[in-house]
């Protein structure tokens, strides 16, 4: 079941003295329930515009959007109580403490004070909750933003670049937090990020967009497989003999520093069979898995 659905969304920004800038160009997006869904795209590809449109901050020119089964923005007020969001930088009063900032937001929806403490605990800010927001480090600010997004115990959590400005330890903490939230079986997370490793590490599904259009979508593993190269890294006790056997069998090989790279292998067992038939045995056989970065760059480059 999809908790976020975008179909054919178009959005252009009018610019004085310049042609209109297309931010969304018929974008489609579907986020399944109780999944952590990565939302990837180069800068300016329309990720934040999509999120802002879903949250009612930006009006799309055409297309339809649904959140938790309700058309938005028309029925957004009816579902906003189940949606937590952190869009780009956290927006708080700098002179107020973290706790007071959360209290002010919680008051709007009647969230209990105990939930504020729970959320501060979740993001590890309980002991610093009474400090002024302006005194927080970037990581603490970001974590407070996540705490605010969690206040409503959301069914859908929208996180736009949550690792922005964080140090490596902070990034790890946030990723761990997202993983935990995603694993609770109650929360759907839409994670917009330019950090491909982040999406690869924490997301179940991914949607890749470029120039406001959908480029690829599906399970992370499937998207990675679609970009697989079919290359195999191979090491043998007798490299030259292995090379001779494989070239004779029709494989194409490239030399690496201490191994061979066999190209265009659809089934790795064909290599072991060919070598074994000639009395050659392997010391290593590693399919070269595509990482999301290469898939992403390949897909978005095609669309540019």
């Amino acid at each position: 079941m999809a908790v976020v659905e975008v179909e054919g969304a178009h959005k252009s920004y009018q610019r004085r003295g310049k042609p209109a800038q297309k931010a969304l160009d018929g974008l489609d997006l579907s986020v399944a329930e109780h999944r952590v869904h990565g939302f990837l795209g180069p800068n300016g590809s329309g990720k934040t515009t999509t999120i802002r449109a879903l949250l009612g901050l930006v009006r799309v020119d055409s297309g339809s959007m649904r959140l938790l089964g309700r058309p938005v923005p028309d029925q957004l007020p009816e579902v906003i109580g189940s949606i937590g969001a952190l869009v780009e930088a956290p927006l708080f009063f700098p002179n107020f403490s973290g706790r007071r900032n959360l209290r002010l937001l919680a008051g709007v929806a009647g969230v209990s004070p105990s939930r504020i403490e729970e959320c501060l605990e979740i993001v590890g800010l309980r002991d610093r909750g009474d400090d002024a927001f302006k005194g927080y480090s970037l990581g603490m600010k970001q974590r407070l933003g996540i705490a605010a997004a969690l206040l409503k115990s959301p069914a859908l959590l929208v996180l736009d670049e949550p690792s922005n400005g964080l140090d490596p330890a902070g990034i790890r903490e946030v990723r761990e937090l997202i993983r935990q939230l995603g694993a609770d079986g109650q929360t759907t997370i839409l994670l917009s990020s330019h950090l491909l490793s982040e999406v690869q590490q924490v997301c179940d599904d991914v949607t890749i967009i470029a120039r406001g259009r959908l480029v690829a979508t599906g399970h992370v593993a499937d998207v990675l497989a679609s970009g697989a190269t079919g290359d195999i890294r191979l090491r043998a006790p007798d490299p030259q003999a292995a090379y001779a056997v494989l070239t004779a069998a029709g494989f194409t090989l490239t030399a690496l520093a201490d191994a061979w790279l066999v190209h265009g292998v659809s089934e790795p067992s064909t290599i072991t069979r060919a070598l074994a038939a000639e009395g050659q045995y392997l010391s290593e056989l590693s399919p070269m898995a595509a990482d999301l970065e290469s898939v992403f760059l390949g897909l978005t480059a095609e669309d540019q």
Binding site: A2, V3, L76, P77, I80, V87, L91, F92, R100, V108
Partner: protein, 343 residues
């Protein structure tokens, strides 16, 4: 496949109530507003103490001293008049005119010989209330501007829309809170001055001899003063909401009062009844404001105007003019907030 529609979130009625309470808490918690109000209270207390030193209930000794000095001046004036009447350089037919009529104690007024006047409710209470109204109106403008300006500068108003997505409701509640803040400010200012005035009248003046209808007139003036503070608070709010910046709103306000109004008064005097300051004064002054606009006839030899047009700007007209400006400002800001994309 879509997820089935979920019945989620608190009821709208609950949200409305909570939003109002939250906005009131936001306003009250703003440190800059607390500092402004604190400074205003401090200033009021200091001025009240200073004012208390300017009034005094005259003792018999002071009255006797004043009477003696007045009689001395009266004798001197009469002596001068007699010398004038005896002056042969002045034509006899003109002497009465040139030297003037005989002077008496009423003309001099013994109260003018008392250094510290007693505080009178009839004269000093309404005058002080006008000053308090002007001060609280300016304070209200700044509070209104900073209240919503801070929301824009921190963009917390955008964060609030993640919780209450109905923009008209958000801006409506904020406008209501600003109006309420103005009303409370104006009312507290008038009440505080009334309290101080009562104290001054009892300790350094008189509470008696209040003419019939005085309290009704004073109450009317106080009510209009509160209305003025509400309007200026909303003007500050509306301006800062429109341009989304407290500093710019205050700058525009200052430039308007210091430059635009001065220039219009000098260059296009007929615009005076439509200026914010004149309309404000007209709103709160008992009987409104009478403006004399020079022209169009000019004495060719001196170049000065020989004709003045008298324009009476009533309380109602002053209030309507201010309300018209306010409505345009609020409507424009609200429409933009409702329609614009927010980033």
């Amino acid at each position: 496949m879509s997820a089935p529609p979920r019945e989620t979130g608190p009821e709208p009625a609950t949200l409305r109530g909570s939003l109002l309470r939250t906005e009131l808490a936001r306003l009250a918690a703003r440190r800059f507003i607390q500092v402004l109000v604190g400074l205003a209270v401090l200033g009021f207390l200091v001025l009240s103490v200073v004012a208390s030193t300017q009034y005094s209930e005259p003792t018999p000794a002071i009255l006797a001293d004043a009477q003696a000095r007045m009689e001395q001046d009266l004798a001197l004036a009469e002596q001068y008049r007699q010398e004038c009447l005896a002056d042969e350089a002045i034509p006899e037919s003109d002497r009465e005119f040139v030297c003037g009529p005989p002077l008496d104690e009423q003309g001099f007024g013994v109260e003018n010989y008392i250094f510290k006047q007693p505080f009178t409710l009839t004269g000093d209470l309404p005058a002080g209330a006008l000053a308090v109204a002007a001060a609280t109106a300016m304070l209200g403008f700044v509070i209104g501007a900073t209240y919503v300006g801070a929301e824009w500068s921190t963009r917390s108003i955008v964060a609030l829309l993640f919780w209450e997505t109905r923009r008209l409701r958000v801006i409506g509640v904020k406008t209501g809170v600003a109006a309420l803040a103005g009303a409370v400010l104006g009312l507290l200012g008038q009440l505080a001055w009334f309290g101080v005035a009562q104290l001054l009248a009892r300790t350094r003046g008189t509470t008696t001899d209040v003419p019939a209808g005085f309290w009704g007139d004073f109450l009317g003036q106080a009510g209009r003063s509160v209305l003025l503070v509400v309007i200026t608070t909303l003007l500050g709010f509306g301006l800062a909401n429109l341009i989304r910046n407290t500093g710019a709103a205050l700058g525009i306000g200052f430039a308007y009062f210091a430059v635009v109004e001065t220039a219009l008064r000098a260059l296009v005097p007929s615009t005076q009844p439509f200026l914010l300051t004149d309309s404000s004064v007209a709103l709160i002054l008992q009987g409104g404001l009478t403006i004399f606009v020079a022209g169009p006839r000019v004495d060719e030899s001196t170049g000065s105007f020989t004709e003045f047009t008298e324009i009476v700007v009533s309380n109602v007209r002053g209030g309507l003019t201010l309300s018209a400006y306010l409505l345009v400002l609020l409507a424009l800001g609200t429409w933009l907030f409702h329609r614009r994309d927010l980033h």
